[in-house]
Symmetry: C2
Subunit: 145 residues, 2 copies
């Protein structure tokens, strides 16, 4: 049975279940940072997804990319499957800005994470929710965070 | 007309033209590091590829992933579209090893690049060529590097 990696669970807020992926928000107010985790067991690499799952992954990744552009006005997207620390396949989708704390460097290890305050978190969740439900056409169940 | 970004041109060795992407080898002997650049103009993000191009991109990305696994015995793949420094859409495909110089950190900015010596470069190109022609089923023209 699929079980989210414990480190991802600790570092993120689970927001929604998309048809293939769990949608997590990294608990780091430095950047709007969404992580997609396909609900498949024992996968470490994108290339290990079946063809059908890859197609679905791309739909969900596109939806997240578009919402980071439309709702957060991202200057640049950083999309990455690294997994050197957490082996469970997970794909980072990060909205970057010329004025963010790590720009133009990649975010990993750049500065310590800043946990969201309650108000800011609510605001970010609302933007993500609006972006996903308006544009994506994806069926999803929204998790009560 | 498509023109490769000048920084990518400077930092890499162009190896092959796949149906959608130019296949470049980063001139950094620290890691087997391939960059795919879709031959489309004015694109900055994966989400800007047409549906057809996305499908083709995934075929080519999978082929590169598989060759990094089969020919270089990668412990982990790092696949990333960042583009904070070079705006032209390009996607990194890097073979990572527990004993590489940056492990487990991401490679960007970790240590200075080490240019390939001639022998090592020939060896790496041969491995890439063998991996692509054996497994990928992709049509390609091989560039005379």
């Amino acid at each position: 049975m699929f079980k989210l990696d414990s480190r991802l669970e600790r570092d993120t807020i689970a927001l929604a279940s998309l048809p293939l992926c769990e949608l997590l928000l990294m608990n780091d107010a430095n950047y709007p940072w969404i992580i997609l985790v396909p609900r498949r067991i024992c996968l470490r690499e994108l290339v290990e997804l079946s063809d059908t799952d890859q197609q679905q992954y791309f739909l969900e990744s596109n939806a997240v990319a578009k919402l980071l552009q439309s709702q957060f006005d991202a200057y640049k997207l950083n999309i990455a499957a690294l997994g050197n620390m957490v082996e469970q396949l997970h794909i980072h989708h990060i909205a970057r800005f010329k004025e963010d704390v790590a720009w133009p460097k990649p975010v990993w290890g750049a500065v310590p994470a800043v946990a969201y305050g309650k108000d800011k978190l609510g605001e970010v969740i609302e933007l993500i929710y609006a972006g996903l439900t308006m544009d994506s056409g994806l069926e999803m169940s929204w998790l009560d965070s």
